[in-house]
């Protein structure tokens, strides 16, 4: 289990990285925290010709809040954001979901944007970004475009990012005051990829449940209002509307069970939080 050969490019800025990626396209991959990509390299599932290390790029390490949007640069590690004092206020849902990402040891290296770029449907950060209606800032050379999370995630590890683009940052919009948040997840073990993860957001005019681990991308479902007495029926309808997969660890039926049960728990948590 050793990687195939590749050139290694150490970038001191995102400008440099964007340039190298634009030139090399599909043959190059960005190396950020490496917690998703490196296992794939070791198993030779991925064999890029060029690896572009953006972690030395100091301009990629920004965490800022501007106009009620939390802006997280490409080089921000998950542990950095988790330790950032403003997280709870800026993005309470993210504060709930981030501790579920891997383990302390992997969060110490893994980046927020790397997880988004990897677009694993079982992973917590794409789910959170989608639930919050966040955006991904993509760069091709010096040209930037913003893509809504709903359009960004297109399939299993498949995103709207073109091969010659890099993610410069992601943005998590702040929810209106009084929004309640809930996050629940079930994996085989703590720290594993989710079998099902549920993020709930409840505000005055909307009840949102976002589901990860079931379809190939995070799924959002909104209700204008959801009376607790209708909830079980609504969650059942939602569960059956999904394209539940079966794999080694979970049957399609179990995934639907979790949408029903865990969804209710996440909604309850959000409701309590909003109250």
């Amino acid at each position: 289990m050793k990687p195939a050969p590749f050139d290694y490019v150490r970038c001191d800025s995102l400008d440099e990285a964007a340039q190298v990626i634009e030139q090399n396209g599909d043959a190059a991959r960005i190396l950020a925290g490496g917690q998703s990509l490196m296992p794939m390299l070791n198993m030779r599932l991925a064999q890029p010709a060029v690896l572009v290390d953006i972690m030395p790029a100091t301009d990629a390490r920004q965490i800022t809040v501007d106009k009620a949007v939390l802006h997280v640069g490409a080089g921000v590690r998950q542990a950095d954001l988790l330790a950032w004092p403003g997280l709870g206020a800026a993005a309470p849902l993210l504060a709930r979901s981030l501790p579920w990402v891997g383990h302390t040891q992997t969060r110490a290296r893994g980046t927020i944007c790397g997880s988004i770029a990897h677009a694993d449907p079982s992973s917590e950060l794409p789910l959170t970004l989608a639930a919050l209606g966040g955006t991904v800032i993509l760069r091709r050379g010096n040209k930037r475009r913003k893509v809504a999370a709903a359009d960004f995630f297109m399939g299993m590890m498949l995103t709207d990012k073109a091969d010659d683009e890099v993610i410069e940052a992601v943005e998590f919009p702040q929810m209106p005051a009084g929004t309640g948040t809930g996050f629940r997840e079930v994996g085989r073990r703590k720290g594993d990829f989710a079998i099902v993860a549920c993020a709930a957001l409840i505000s005055n005019d909307r009840v949102r449940l976002a589901i990860g681990g079931v379809n190939d991308t995070p799924v959002l479902h909104d209700w204008d209002t959801l009376d607790p007495s209708d909830e079980a029926e609504a969650l059942n309808a939602l569960a059956w509307s999904l394209d539940a997969r079966a794999d080694l660890h979970a049957s399609a039926r179990y995934r639907r069970d979790l949408v029903r049960n865990l969804g209710a728990t996440a909604l309850k948590e959000a409701r309590q939080c909003a109250a």
Partner: protein, 169 residues
């Protein structure tokens, strides 16, 4: 920007357990292999090479890291700490190491290097560490011998000793 050619070996210089050392690595060489086979620092062990078992955990610039998910060329210029650097002197043990011995927190000792590095980092960074925090960090490691309870006991005891020593000092 610096581009390192795939086929060549490149000099990697780092501070390993307080000593400035250097070695040669192709871009694809894993840090775990570089330490063990290039620098002959065999205390860091390799258990899965996909980042799950935790045996190869060490510290890069003060943070825990899986050395099997890190390239040797990435630590050029970095400060790397491994299990070989934990003891205060060759014939002595750190508080945590001593506590592992006292509590039978290891059997075969293969996964132990990584566990010690995670716990050492946690105890260093978290003055009033609690059991949940210890459990959470330990959940990033697989141990097949002990059933974990003895490791937890050792960590709790070490935390208490360190906390007492800090207060006394």
């Amino acid at each position: 920007m610096r581009r390192l050619n795939a086929d060549q070996r490149h000099t990697v210089t780092l501070t390993l357990n307080g000593q400035l050392v250097e070695g040669q690595a192709t871009p694809r060489m894993l840090l775990s292999d570089f330490l063990r086979h290039e620098l002959a620092a065999t205390g860091t062990h390799v258990g899965c090479e996909h980042g799950v078992c935790g045996a190869c955990t060490l510290r890069i610039d003060g943070s825990m890291a899986r050395s099997c998910l890190t390239l040797a060329v990435q630590v050029d210029g970095a400060v790397v700490d491994t299990v070989e650097g934990l003891a205060p002197a060759p014939d002595r043990l750190s508080v945590l190491q001593e506590s592992f011995r006292k509590n039978h927190a290891l059997q075969c000792g293969f996964c132990t290097a990584g566990i010690l590095m995670s716990l050492d980092t946690l105890l260093r960074d978290t003055p009033d560490v609690n059991e949940d925090q210890i459990r959470d960090v330990l959940s990033g490691h697989l141990c097949r011998c002990t059933g974990y309870q003895a490791i937890l006991n050792a960590a709790l005891e070490a935390a208490e000793t360190i906390s007492k020593e800090t207060k006394d000092a």
